[in-house]
Symmetry: D2
Subunit: 337 residues, 4 copies
């Protein structure tokens, strides 16, 4: 890290800083500039930054240098990770498309949707059995019964099942039914849940929290990787900004930025990322053009009757049109759905 001294810092203050750095087991290099003195610190600083150096007298700022994540880093593994879960492949030139309803509602709904999205080219089926909802008065999901219906849909179509888990104690149950565990945006920093997901060998789709930085997303992935589960997909689903014409703001520059720093594949959710069905196709196409390794999209046979998230859900014909465009875009960038 770099410790920047204040313009008028005294010699004694500088010595105090140097001594403190040495006590942390790190090596200080003092550089006297024309206007300021800085202390460059060499060694593994990863947690030292928070140890109060910036409150020492005479210190103006502390600038970290090392990225705080390790196992997720391209510097540790240059080769991109390809996640495979049954019919679903994400990464390695393959754009995996996960589609389905926000919530599993009944057998008819989930099986019909599974057949339709498979026909249009999806390789994974999404559907919520455990639903975290902002209001306690909203529909909370069919829970275990929903998992069983998803398993039936897989039996009928062969599609890999992607479904959310919201609590560490549910991980074994959901892992028994699902091909991919989804950890939702609200739970991105639910560390017990991340640790539990790190202890199973089922791939994980980790969604970015709406106020999480990309570094925090990588550190959340690090909890899972560090636990021993290396099959992690990162998912950009939009951030909270001042914009109110979309439900969230979908920052697609996340995709190439992450690709430069991590070997983990990156999936984009244009449904939550926009919140409006009529923006989904354009943003799915843009995501593939930006290099996304996968898409996760809400599709329902009758969005107007959906139990949740109807406003951002495609119907089957609209999903088919989206797939056609994405297929052509993928080909234009040397990849395929």
């Amino acid at each position: 890290m770099i410790i920047v001294m204040q313009a008028g810092a005294s010699e004694a203050e500088l010595e105090h800083v140097v001594a403190r750095v040495e006590r942390l087991g790190l090596r200080p290099h003092v550089i006297v500039g024309t206007e300021r003195t800085v202390v460059a610190v060499v060694g593994d600083e990863r947690d030292a930054v928070s140890r109060g150096l910036e409150t020492l007298p005479g210190v103006a700022a502390v600038l970290p240098i090392l990225a705080p994540y390790k196992v997720a880093s391209r510097e540790v593994q240059a080769e991109p990770t390809v996640v495979r879960a049954g019919s679903l492949t994400v990464g390695g030139g393959r754009v995996g498309v996960i589609a389905g309803p926000c919530s599993v509602e009944d057998r008819e709904q989930i099986v019909t949707t599974a057949r339709a999205v498979k026909e249009a080219g999806a390789t994974g089926l999404r559907g919520g059995a455990f639903k975290p909802r902002t209001s306690p008065y909203s529909f909370q999901g069919l829970k275990e019964q929903g998992l069983e219906l998803l398993a039936e849909a897989r039996a009928e179509t062969g599609l890999a099942i992607v479904t959310e888990v919201v609590s560490p104690e549910d991980v074994p149950l959901v892992a028994r039914f699902a091909d991919v565990l989804q950890i939702g945006a609200r739970n991105m920093q639910n560390y017990r849940l991340l640790e539990a997901a790190g202890r199973v060998q089922v791939p994980v789709l980790l969604k970015r929290g709406p106020a999480a930085t990309v570094e925090e997303l990588l550190l959340a992935a690090e909890y899972i990787l560090d636990g021993g589960n290396r099959q992690v997909m990162l998912c950009e689903r939009g951030i909270r900004t001042f914009e109110s014409h979309t439900r969230f703001t979908l920052p697609l520059a996340t995709v190439p930025w992450l690709h430069a720093r991590t070997h983990l594949p990156v999936v984009v959710d244009p449904s939550h990322g926009t919140g409006h069905a009529n923006l989904v196709e354009s943003m799915a196409a843009a995501a593939v053009a930006a290099g996304a390794d996968g898409l996760i999209v809400e599709v329902h046979p009758d969005p107007k009757a959906a139990a949740s998230d109807g406003g951002q859900t495609l119907d089957v014909p609209a999903f088919g049109r989206m797939m056609d465009v994405c297929r052509r875009i993928a080909a234009a960038v040397g990849r395929h759905l």
Copy 2:
């Protein structure tokens, strides 16, 4: 809710909307304007908004009218809630001050701090035993041993203990030791945890998530209230914005806004809200002036040696100065610490 039709919507589209509203058990009123037609909908709309009305052909927008929270609302209980937990009173003209270290580190540290903050006028002791940390490589807390040390500090000083719980299965354990359960910003939408906190009769300090709207904060409180626990304090601790000179942006207008809408008391955290020790006193003073019912502040006998959050932690003399200022401000607005 109000359904705004597009400028060119057809008669058939309007009829379709009206029929859909009726099928939801609500009453539509059609109002034909000079440029647009709107449908005003009467009845309890609380979950209907998400039922896909905005995707109907001809619909331009759906505007909700009712606040989605109920039990937290001043319309349900006009009288302010006063939370009492041992030595700590929050609300009713009393500004409760909860102070202490980010993490419990050892007996010496927590007991010394407890004595010092009590002497300066604090009425609650904070200290983390279970620490949610962004990086898996950071210190995660002493866990149950930390709770025992907090209990010792209470035995020595009589201060009420405020400590975080991060997982539903820990609620009974933490509730055995703590006078107030803290639910942290990262867990504000961990609904299992909120439900578990709703099942005990220990007061809860619920922190606002850094990307949560105030409505979402109230809905999270609603999970606890709806479970039967009515002793809930809301805590503003800063939001994520483009500002980077502070750790978070502390929006104090939350305090009077919440007071106008909910009977629950509002606590402010100027330590996380700014991230810099030298900004804490000013923002604590500002919070009291804005009407806060409580403060929660990080204090450590030696911030530079703290295991976490050193940069935003006050030492004991600085905390004493902060208390002096806040005492005078409270008097100026007809309240007392």
Copy 3:
């Protein structure tokens, strides 16, 4: 607009609101609901919202209904506007690409760049002669001499010139040299400048301010359109959010959202929108996939030596690669560069 009364509003308060609405020349419809009463107001409300209705006793909220922009609206002109300026066409299936350096530095630099970007397929040449800079100590541009150099580059290559104007009194001068007047993000709400641009018949590229909503962007365009200049291009160049790994956050959902509401073409600036050269190609590709009618990109023969914005500037080979990808993407969505 819709006026929502408070739950406990009195009959007298309601009558007062109704009277006030009538005095504004609008027609109120009172609708008594189960929990609330609302007053739906019919008529042209465009400026009435700010007339203090929300401060009337008993009023809980005022919700606008009509979009505040008119001439920019698709409801006024369904047909998309195609902007043509010399060699440059933006809209109507044609993706115009404007490329060049941040600042005009000297004859050699601008002519070399113009030749290179033309060869790679650009149809417009950008280059700043008047540079608004955050710091008074930064390079401010060559001013009129820069305009002359741009004209020379046009004489050599035939490329249409796009250059910024920062002050109303410069509009006639810049309009004499430029094919397109650029109004920068910092000046999006410099109304005198917008009015001046409305009085000439040179096409305008209007950049979105980093904190401007899309409605505010349309209203800023409305100033130009209302002045009589109908050749306006809107430009998304990124917004200020909490993200710090990119210079701004580039929200591409703006493109389809604007297309649904306005007939004006939409250009995307992936250089300012990301701030990093290595993210530009991906985001240019994504913009075309999302339906952008144009791109504006910073290109310099030697970015490392550029007088400004070097970190986000492509060199000529990188620009060539970007063009290849964008050409294929455009074809995939039925359009061409």
Copy 4:
């Protein structure tokens, strides 16, 4: 500045960086760490950062060290600046209160308001003659006639006049009537206007743009100071964030942060900062508690009839109550109105 090399950067890349730094006239210090090499650069770097160092091969990041503002800095002038303009004093223990309507509407309105706010203790009168409005269809102010009415109000009450100037060519005119030139948030980066304000010797109230960082605010002030006008007040009036329950988010930590870095006084605008009259008193009180040197508040004899901004405007009795609270708070922090 500090140049951080990538983990795998080659010796040749390092040498290239070192050579480039030397060519910029700066001195590089190479420090070889356990995981990374960094180059600490000594000398006046202020504009070099943008010169493309971060695009050199092998460079991971470039971290600036020096603050980019100079004249505004406390390091240049330790003593706080006190701004005096007729009846108005801002700074030096005195909290100046500027109050009045959003727009000057007619003689009666402005003189009545001036008398009322003076009686309640205001020392400055605000009132817009030139109004920048988001929509071209909104009221744009009385212009020169408004200035004359303001001068009449001053003649009647002795209050210093604070009024906005929106264009460089209007500066001499407005400076003839006004005691303080206000530069509004939309114009914070209108550099021609800042330069024009730097050429007169009338104090300036410079408002922070809603997406401007505090560093950008200081750099905008630097334009005025650098022009020779040293009587500059900074004004925090709220930023754009995801919060929608207030018009802007008012980040009061700006006040102590600025006080630590600049000698310029800091004024807070709780009217625009919240957008709701019922939040103004609390936030005015909080601003004074946080150390604000001044307040600027919208007051109108009949807010409901105001031509603009009615929703956030206090009536005279509410302003009187606000003043009472602020007077007590100021006393509590050793200052006075």
